[in-house]
Symmetry: C2
Subunit: 297 residues, 2 copies
């Protein structure tokens, strides 16, 4: 059976790694802080002390890290995957990072006959725990086919969108739409309330028509109960939007609406809302409008 | 049986009026240009020569007009509904206009014991023909209950959202979300293509997750086939967004993202795209990016 490694055992990485372990794979794990490594070791995982060590011991190495520089360091830095790489190793990155970084890593590791897949996920920590993530994959088909049985353990939909970097582009596209819906929801709720309508009835009136979306299906009831806890944290949404704007600038594409939405999420970081849910961007609209959404139990 | 009037027989008003007629109601019709009046007369409708004449002959009078000033004129102007009004008349406006105008009309006609409902619709000309509109109603419950059997002929969902003007606020909320989704779709498709991914695969990867929406379910395949015909015309979307911004200014609510989206739809009017579908706002992103979405049959 394939030996698997997992580097980066945070809010997403830990439940994903656990699902791989519980599916019966030999799993080598590494994380900067050691507590979670010890925890998974008691469940049967093999601890390692560097990305290089993980890479040297496995057939397929995953990572799940906060941002592009972290991935570059873990993949290509000192004691990185590159130092433990062997021909035929497959590297699957579940992080959400810049497409350009995904391509650079694939190019560098490709020189050592390591195959790379960028495989960012959507579905949050709940989806990670349940093994029900949506996985967007960029990279060579042959590598994807070898990894697919493991991806099927951690996700419910696996879409191969193109070559290296394409998975990250899909994730960027996803976040453009999610951010737009979150901001629109905030704007429409505050407009409705301040202009004298009942926001709950407004949502009821519009959610089955052309405005229908996952956001309106899932988020308003939480907001009406005063629940702005994540879910998906605002600072991660802000990070993703900044990746998108960096990528858009690189390719010379103006994104007027996404640029504004990015500013609103960046404003959350300056307003003590960084660790709230992405739907809590309504808080910025509230601050702008001087009107707070009414809540009830 | 109730006698019904319908004023404004355009792309939406004509099929709605026809459904009321076909349901067996006596229907008095008026329109500025007479061709469509003659057409409905051959089907059994009774022609009238002014809004006042319609109002004087019916129990319930509907209107469906382009914008707020048109409604104000038809309701309160010379030979308007106000001149033919009688106590107990119910006036139902299916137009999408400013909430403030809906309230003003209700207040003025209320002085003559006319009951008003603002009842804007969502679902386009297809929904109008099929009698499957979503109808958002503001105004007194008693009037709504009298009108409900007729609304059930023209729509599949009727939501009472509050007092006069609340129906228009619901429609505004709907259009905030719809515009956000249309612009986000345009931005993500052009970003995906120009950064080297296949836009169709990107849509496939994201449309079942947190980005899911009516827009992604219905519009991308039309765009990929090069079809930008309405549907819902861009200039109507622009008009609705400008109503929203006027209303937001009136209540002192900044709407940063909707304001940008309104500018992009306004740009369509200056770029020969006024009569295209609202999804054709991607054309403005194409112009900004110098990249045209690839199409196939």
């Amino acid at each position: 059976m394939l030996k698997v490694g997992y580097i980066g055992l945070g809010i997403m990485g830990k439940p994903i790694a656990r699902n791989i372990l519980n599916a019966g794979y030999t799993l080598v794990v590494h994380n900067r802080s050691r507590g979670v490594v010890d925890e998974l070791a008691t469940e049967g995982a093999i601890p390692a002390f560097s990305p290089a060590e993980v890479a040297s011991k496995v057939d397929i190495v995953f990572s799940n890290l906060p941002d592009s520089p972290d991935v570059e360091k873990v993949a290509l830095g000192e004691k990185g995957i590159i130092s433990g790489a062997h021909a035929g190793l497959i590297y699957v990155d579940n992080s959400t990072i810049k497409p350009a970084t995904a391509r650079k890593v694939a190019e560098e590791l490709g020189k050592l006959d390591v195959f790379c897949l960028d495989a960012p996920v959507s579905g949050g920590d709940v989806g990670a725990r349940k093994g029900e993530l949506a996985i967007m994959v960029g990279g060579p088909s042959e590598a994807l086919e070898k990894v697919r049985p493991i991806l099927e353990v951690i996700g419910k939909s696996i879409t191969h969108v193109g070559g290296n970097g394409a998975g990250q582009i899909a994730k960027a596209a996803n976040q453009i739409m999610v951010a737009a819906q979150m901001v629109a929801m905030g704007e429409l709720l505050i407009l409705a309330q301040k202009s004298g309508a009942d926001p709950e009835k407004i949502i009821q009136a519009i959610r089955k028509g052309a405005a229908q979306c996952w956001t309106l299906d899932n988020k308003p009831q939480r907001l009406f109960r005063g629940n702005r806890q994540p879910g998906f944290k605002a600072f991660m949404q802000a990070k993703d939007l900044n990746i998108i704007l960096d990528t858009a600038r690189e390719y010379g594409i103006p994104l007027p609406s996404t640029a504004v939405n990015a500013q609103l999420f960046n404003a959350m970081l300056q307003s003590g809302m960084a660790n709230l849910d992405n739907s809590a961007v309504i808080g910025i609209i509230e601050n702008l409008a001087g009107e707070r959404l009414q809540t009830h139990d």
